[in-house]
């Protein structure tokens, strides 16, 4: 009995599930309507974009890197797709979606090339491209916005449509999650990401190419940002130059909350999903418990710090126990 409790305590995902349940109970006590199906659906839908982008960020962090350019990549590809929609209203929206993804992929591939072939540390590369892509967004849009009445309704319906009663945006997020789950667990390339993040020398010894993996993770992250860019602009029916500013930190926070090691080599996509949902619930719970939305940032920061500290303390405890068990 004690052992199984111990095991649950050591499992990051179960911990997070527990935390989410406690949080939901607390909020529901204050406002019983919080757990109504419609509200739950809204929370998940609100978090869907974060889940997609955090999934890409997750791969990058697994290698020990970081992608600070996700917000700017979203803005650029979202702007490109919206302007395309405005200029050619007749173009099929799923072609626009594809183009948006391709634009994001190209930007991600640029990051990947800088890191893999230029040997520029990920933090520097993406700090640079964060500015560059944002700047390009302004250049592309000439500072103008694409507003709701300039978009076709087909475009704005991409995330809003429903399949089996589930909003498309949520379906997309679930789809990405499943693909990503399969990718990191059941494909060779997915496992190679863990190898590079865990021990570069050892990875080299077994023939895993660091260049290839680095290029791949940034490209995937870019592709997901491209998708997110289309979703974002369509959902809010506006493409502005400041779209998704600061979003990179939210995605990193979701990963860190989900137990992904910032040093690379360990973490699961399930954890990332839960981390993102946790952030989403907090954001949606604030108005319910009568806290002004201005509290959101402080609470988010506090939670991220608390999660990291709790994680570190738990790990240190485990390590001590492990050492005590060895060589009695």
């Amino acid at each position: 009995m004690k052992k199984s409790i111990e095991k649950i305590l050591q499992n990051r995902e179960l911990n997070l599930v527990g935390l989410i349940i406690i949080l939901l109970i607390l909020v529901t006590i204050r406002s019983p309507r919080f757990l109504e199906l419609r509200n739950v659906e809204r929370i998940v839908n609100d978090t869907a974009i974060l889940i997609m982008v955090a999934a890409g960020q997750f791969l990058v962090i697994l290698t020990g890197g970081i992608d600070l350019s996700v917000g700017s990549t979203i803005a650029f590809s979202g702007m490109a797709a919206s302007m395309l929609n405005e200029a050619y209203p007749a173009m099929p929206v799923y072609l626009i979606l594809l183009i948006g993804v391709l634009v994001g992929t190209a930007l991600g591939a640029f990051n990947g090339s800088c890191v893999a072939f230029g040997k520029i540390p990920p933090i520097i590369t993406t700090l640079g491209t964060m500015s560059i892509f944002r700047g390009f967004t302004f250049v592309l849009s000439k500072g103008q916005w694409v507003t709701a009445h300039e978009m076709t309704s087909a475009y704005t319906m991409i995330p809003r449509g429903r399949l089996f009663g589930i909003p498309n945006l949520t379906t997309w997020a679930i789809f990405i999650f499943i693909i990503m789950y399969y990718f990191v667990k059941y494909t060779r390339h997915g496992r190679e990401i863990y190898a590079i993040g865990g021990n570069k020398t050892a990875a080299h010894f077994v023939g895993v190419s660091e260049k290839k993996v680095n290029f791949m993770v940034f490209t995937i992250s870019g592709a997901l940002c491209g998708l997110a860019g289309v979703m974002w602009t369509a959902r809010y029916a506006a493409a502005v130059n400041e779209t998704a500013t600061g979003f990179e930190l939210q995605t990193v926070a979701a990963c860190v909350l989900g137990g992904v090691s910032i040093a690379g080599g360990s973490g699961t996509i399930t954890g990332v999903l839960l981390g993102a949902l946790f952030l989403g619930i907090i954001n949606n719970a604030l108005p319910v418990v009568n806290l002004s939305p201005f509290y959101q940032m402080a609470i988010q920061g506090f939670i991220v710090l608390a999660a990291i500290v709790a994680n570190v303390l738990m790990e240190q405890r485990n390590e001590k126990k492990l050492l005590n068990r060895r060589r009695q």
Partner: protein
């Protein structure tokens, strides 16, 4: 029938500014255990990396079963049937045993999906074959040093290899595990596989190997049958001279006790370690890799924190919580890993040498170039460091000279107790002899020296007394005149406790 499987012809590997290998010929035959012999720095590891595709040769040819091959990545070599147990810890500590064994050549189902079930089963079979009681789902970080090495061996066996390269596979294994390994090697040999075996221990080479090739300073020196050669012949080829003056031990008057360690423990690393160190004495510490010797030294130097026990220095109990305090008490520690812990490679020699006492020699915290220069020159020259000037970075020096820099830096602090952790690991013979001579002189001058070493001849040749450790315990303490290679090895592998 022995036939040639892998042939290296006129191989060279240059790095900017260095020739790591030059004019190397090397032939491996099936059904044969081939010993690759050479001192640290002779180029063995570079050669292994070329054979396994980790490095590509600057020039020369690799022939596999007669036809020329090109190993662009480790993957290519593996596909051609070359597997290796690398000397450096090459494990993914956050992943399971199964995954570590199959990383780089995961088993897949038809559609390309990884077949975890098959991999797990295969791992279990490998572990059974090695008589290891490890769950395939265990994370590597939860295994001890010896178990990790056994998993490395299992990993090499998981590839259906024609040629298995083993780079010092026994350095952390117990006697029993070594026997298991020998059994496996003989099995592989009978199956007609080729094995390259790298070891520093001659008893191992004579026990298990058939043929040997010797390297020195990146060049091929010679080869021969193990059965018809003697240790002396091989050593001569290795070092280019005989061993007579390797251990210039001087008689020193052993004085009063300066350091008295009682019941020292650090959970997970060592338990109840006690010993006494005297003035003018060289106290050897011997044991297998992972026996806990370095951890004891690190604890005395204030890097790790002890959980129990007392450290008495010159009759007073002391509590050392940081290297800085240890330094103030007159303790100096030349660490095990010169590149990581000893020297700061991208800093100049002068900055390296003055670093431990930089606060002391900087009035009000302001650097004093003149004092720095005086200290650097005094101790740099004393150690006979060979360098263009004192401003070059430490990484431009050879391993031996880097070690001299680390020694100089600690001598400059004027210590009473000098702890040397593997001071001659990976340095050339000439420097090795110089270090030995110097240690001997320092002890004769009244310094108390602790010499931690994995090289038995070094401990036997240099130490006044030998503390042997096994799995975190002191298994035996031997005087110079009663110690020999047999009783030390037995104590180190846990076959003779007590006394």
């Amino acid at each position: 029938m022995k036939k040639t499987i892998l042939e290296l012809k006129d191989i060279a590997k240059y790095f900017p500014g260095i020739k790591a290998l030059d004019n190397v010929d090397f032939t491996i035959r099936t059904g044969e255990v081939h010993a690759l012999i050479g001192e640290n720095g002779a180029g063995k590891s570079t050669l292994v990396k070329i054979m396994t595709g980790v490095y590509q040769p600057t020039k020369g040819k690799i022939l596999m079963e007669g036809s020329e091959v090109h190993f662009g990545t480790a993957h290519d070599a593996q596909a051609a049937g070359v597997a290796a147990i690398h000397q450096e810890a090459s494990m993914f500590t956050e992943l399971t045993v199964t995954e570590n064994i199959f990383m780089g050549h995961h088993l897949r189902k038809k559609g390309g999906t990884l077949d975890w079930k098959a991999m797990r089963q295969h791992t279990q079979e490998l572990l059974d074959r090695l008589e290891l009681d490890i769950n395939p789902d265990t994370l590597i970080k939860n295994l001890g040093t010896a178990q990790r090495h056994m998993v490395e061996i299992a990993k090499a066996l998981s590839v259906d290899a024609q040629l298995v390269i083993m780079d010092e596979p026994t350095s952390a294994l117990s006697l029993h595990e070594v026997e298991e390994l020998y059994k496996i090697i003989r099995q592989l040999k009978d199956e007609g596989k080729a094995i390259v075996f790298i070891s520093h221990k001659f008893d191992e080479i004579f026990e298990i190997c058939d043929y040997f090739t010797v390297f020195r300073d990146g060049q091929y020196i010679g080869e021969g049958e193990v059965a018809t050669s003697s240790v002396d012949e091989i050593v001569k080829m290795m070092v280019g001279r005989s061993l007579g003056h390797m251990f210039p031990k001087k008689e020193a008057a052993i004085g009063e006790a300066v350091l008295d360690v009682k019941g020292l423990s650090l959970p997970g690393f060592f338990k109840n370690v006690s010993f006494t160190l005297h003035k003018g004495e060289i106290l050897g510490f011997f044991g297998l890799v992972g026996a806990g010797r370095s951890e004891v030294m690190r604890t005395i130097f204030g890097i790790d924190k002890k959980s129990e026990g007392t450290i008495v220095l010159n009759g007073h109990e002391i509590h050392i919580s940081s290297p800085r305090l240890a330094m103030q008490r007159g303790i100096a520690y030349v660490p095990e890993d010169r590149q990581e812990q000893g020297a700061i490679l991208e800093m100049s020699l002068s900055h390296n040498i003055t670093l431990p006492q930089i606060d002391k020699i900087s009035p009000f915290g302001v650097l004093n170039k003149k004092t720095e220069k005086t200290i650097t020159e005094e101790f740099g020259n004393k150690m006979e460091i060979k360098a263009a000037n004192w401003k070059v970075n430490a990484n431009t020096l050879s391993g031996g000279n880097q070690q001299k820099v680390v020694l100089a830096k600690w001598l400059a602090t004027d210590p009473d107790i000098l702890i040397l952790d593997e001071p001659t690991k990976g340095i050339d013979v000439a420097t090795k002899a110089a270090v030995h001579e110097f240690v001997s002189e320092m002890a004769a001058a009244g310094l108390a020296v602790i010499l931690v070493s994995s090289e038995l001849p070094e401990v036997l040749g240099m130490a006044d007394r030998i503390v042997v450790m096994h799995e975190g315990h002191v298994s035996k303490v031997l005087n110079r005149d009663e110690a020999n290679s047999d009783n030390v090895i037995l104590a180190a592998t846990g076959h003779e406790e007590g006394m």
